[in-house]
Point group: C2
Chain length 205, copies 2
Amino acid sequence: MANPIKSLIESRVSINYYDTSQQLTDSDIEELISQATRAPSAYNFQNWKFIAVRSPEAKERLKGVCYGQQKVVEAPVTFIICGILEAYKQLPQALKPSVDAGFLDQSVAEGWIDAAKQTHTDNPELQRDEAIRSASLAAMTLMFAAQGMGLATGSMSGFDPRGVAREFQLSAVEVPVIMVTVGYPTSGNWPQKPRRPISEVIQYA
Amino acid sequence: MANPIKSLIESRVSINYYDTSQQLTDSDIEELISQATRAPSAYNFQNWKFIAVRSPEAKERLKGVCYGQQKVVEAPVTFIICGILEAYKQLPQALKPSVDAGFLDQSVAEGWIDAAKQTHTDNPELQRDEAIRSASLAAMTLMFAAQGMGLATGSMSGFDPRGVAREFQLSAVEVPVIMVTVGYPTSGNWPQKPRRPISEVIQYA
């Protein structure tokens, strides 16, 4: 039996070359974010923010803080995916849709809010780890969502975080974690590169 | 037209309750890791390690450093997914399969190795960020791979990292980033919880 997910996973590549004649619609972008935000996060923090860079002017500013990488200009959209520090402060708001829908008892939500406050307050390393974890889980989900929509992606961590924060007016709690270019591929892209043997990365216990 | 990826993304839940009568085979575990390692990583670092915890004795040790969470005992396997610091030191080995297969010119590989060395040496924050990013991207890929195989998963960041390092003999460069329980679901699991409105997490530029 065909497993469509396996096929997607095994054919996904980070592309560098986009068809510059094809754009994404607002509806495409919202669909991508709708799916990306289905990723898991600790306590269901949903401590992420997606900046969809698609105007020519913003793309040039982005290129300037991505070491001149041309793909951010050629891709129809590049998402700057940020993780949010101090996520525990946003948790009541993040859990509200689950409480309102009756998926989560108010008392359980309050327990999570207390636990998150206890563990995250005054723990900047945990806050940063959680920001990077959540944003990365959402980024990977976004890449698969895009593939499912017939789009191709490229993930990038090669950027100047301070420059990104300055050019895109990030607040002190917004950490730019990863960028994902999205669009339609053109010729010249690589196939997926082979990986290290599994035996090098697995251990049984 | 049905989009099977969208369906998976929108139905994925972090489950807590597993059918304890069904185990995973070695072949299942290797298939999961094979797919998880297709995730992208900066410079194709592949700076990750997967500890498959499945013996009763190891599960009890794991439970002790996961604040007593019962699911790590009941799930057939829990993967401790580690990111690796000082990834630049491993990069020649990580790129070798790509060079050997003719996917990457030796000169390009050497350029990446130099660039990674320049940017990562003496930069512990970047090394840690990269470890968390890579391990999280691989973890999310593993969760989708599992769904494609008819399995269910649960991701966990609620564990004591020092305790995990001690109990599973992690080296100084191995950072436990996230755990993923994998198995067959039983009754009592939640449906996917609603998310915050997209308008709260998206910004156009």
